[in-house]
Amino acid sequence: MAAYKMSGFQRFLLLRCLIWNFIMFVVLNLKMLFLVAKGHGGTRD
């Protein structure tokens, strides 16, 4: 895996495509909120 290189399409999608990144921004925020809800630790769950 060390020599893994991004293809041009992957690079475009991850670093340039605004629509894809906006969708990912929303998804990441939801995932982070889920992690926070789950991971506040201990008896408060």
Partner: protein, 482 residues
């Protein structure tokens, strides 16, 4: 009426003070003792160190915030702990010395009913010979003023590169037991990004050097993520980013000495090595502050309160790595000898490292210390505050809530470049922070997702604004999770 004293105003201390105020009526006094006049949002220091932000954007004065919230603010540093008082004063207190304002230099005995120690780490540059920001071509991004200096030096270096000079840049950890690899990781990728944007990346050799067993370990033992439909290790992810950007890496290296542009290290094979640089950002060892504690008679009782950091309800029994358990980690952060004293954030002494400990052939311990970032520090600060409030309200001597780093999650957004259209970041989600192999036998943790791209930068930028708003304790601050 109870008096709660919070030492420190970082993520843990500031959060604890805020939640104490939220949970306790005005008849109770909350006091914050901190040598700093400003709150600093440390995760954005890497952007100060690359000229993308100024300290003004990442800091704010604490005094007006505390005044608005009816929290007493003392800009002072702690000198000694007296958990039983002394012959003259029959109340527990901490001896402090003012570091700013009209009382600068004056000492005061600050009494308390409950004490929350959130003093963070001491940046122990002295643990590595010759390592100090501004000395021997090294800089630091551990505080906003260090980061500001780092950008000044980097800018001067870029000017030299624009004139055609070829330079060497080394970034990583400056001690065999340093932690905070994540900050150095973000900084090296942001330096790479900055050089590219100035059109001088071809004029620099950039090298990562760290005490990790392999890159992407970050003092967290092995981490695994779902990325692009596959399970990637932290090592895969870090190597992919370094290979993609032409960054070389040296791992298993414990730096013990820095001379003018040269760092000397020993690796796990016992081999001696050196790496040369024109610009070096090396994270120092984080140590305890070396506080002393005394009983009523004036006898030294430091060993009841402190190891390097404060003793809490962790299992400190020395045991081999194979016997480590998630249960070793503290749940209430309460000192076992003095139940009215708690430690939050980096100030509590961990039971052991999170990484597997490793010793070189010559007997040198080269193991990253356990990182405690803003998210767990904030969560612990809140937990401790809620427990103290509960104890005050009910008269109980036992904390109600428990929360261990072995059942706490962390979201890590590591910037790899800055810019609304040209930035990027890696987003890693981790649950739990401390691996629990009883619960998750294969990887020690749930395999959560990782992401790399522009949306990560937007997220990091959003968190910057969100947390500065929250920490200013503005309307609705408590709705924003730690």
């Amino acid at each position: 009426m109870a008096k709660v004293v919070v030492l420190g105003s970082g993520f843990a201390g500031h959060t604890a003070a805020a939640y104490l105020r939220k949970n306790l009526g005005k008849e109770h006094e909350i006091v914050v003792v901190t040598p700093n006049s400003k709150f600093q949002y440390i995760p954005s220091n890497i952007w100060i160190g690359t000229g993308k932000m100024t300290p003004r954007q990442t800091t704010f004065p604490l005094a007006p915030v505390y005044k608005r919230k009816n929290i007493t603010f003392k800009q002072a540093k702690v000198l000694t702990f007296h958990p039983e008082g002394d012959k003259e004063l029959d109340k527990p207190y901490v001896l402090v010395e003012y570091t700013g304002g009209n009382k600068q230099g004056e000492k005061e005995k600050v009494t308390y009913d409950y004490l929350i120690n959130a003093t963070g780490p001491k940046l122990d540059f002295a643990a590595t010979e010759g390592l100090f920001p501004g000395k021997n071509k090294t800089v630091s991004v551990c505080s906003f003023d260090h980061a500001e200096h780092a950008w000044k030096e980097l800018k001067a270096l870029i000017d030299r590169m624009k004139k055609g000079e070829h330079v060497k840049i080394v970034i990583g950890t400056g001690h065999a037991n340093a932690t905070c690899q994540g900050a150095a990781f973000e900084y090296i990728l942001n330096v790479d990004d900055t050089l590219r944007k100035h059109g001088v990346r071809d004029k620099a050799d950039i090298t990562w050097i760290s005490n990790e067993y392999h890159v992407g370990e970050f003092g967290m033992n092995e981490m695994y993520f779902k990325f692009g439909g596959k399970v990637w290790s932290g090592q895969d992810l870090a190597e992919f980013l370094f290979e993609d950007r032409g960054i070389k890496y040296i791992t298993q290296a414990g730096i013990y000495k820095v001379e003018d542009g040269v760092a000397y290290y020993e690796n796990l094979h016992g081999e001696q090595g050196k790496v040369e640089f024109d610009f070096g950002m090396l994270i120092p060892k984080f140590s305890g502050h070396g506080f002393k504690a005394y009983d009523k008679e004036g006898n030294d009782i430091t060993d009841k309160l402190f190891k390097a950091f404060m003793i809490v309800d962790a299992d400190y029994t020395p045991k081999p790595y194979e016997e480590w358990s998630a249960k070793d980690w503290p749940e209430t952060y309460q000192n076992p000898t003095y139940p009215n004293i708690f430690a939050a954030g980096i100030a509590f002494h961990p039971p052991h490292t999170i990484s597997q400990p490793r010793v070189s052939k010559t007997g040198k311990n080269i193991t990253p210390a356990p990182p405690r970032t803003g998210m767990p520090s904030g969560i612990i600060g809140r937990l401790v505050a809620e427990n103290v409030a509960h104890m005050i309200k009910t008269g109980s001597k036992t904390p109600k809530e428990k929360g261990s780093m072995a059942n706490m999650g962390a979201g890590c957004v590591a910037s790899t470049g800055y810019g609304f259209f040209t930035g990027s970041a890696v987003v890693m989600m981790l649950y739990p922070i401390v691996p629990d192999f009883d619960k998750y036998p294969k990887y020690g943790r749930e395999v959560k997702s990782a992401y790399y791209g522009l949306a990560g930068h937007w997220m990091k930028k959003m968190l910057h604004h969100l947390f500065i708003y929250k920490n200013k304790l503005k309307f609705g601050w408590s709705l924003i999770p730690e």
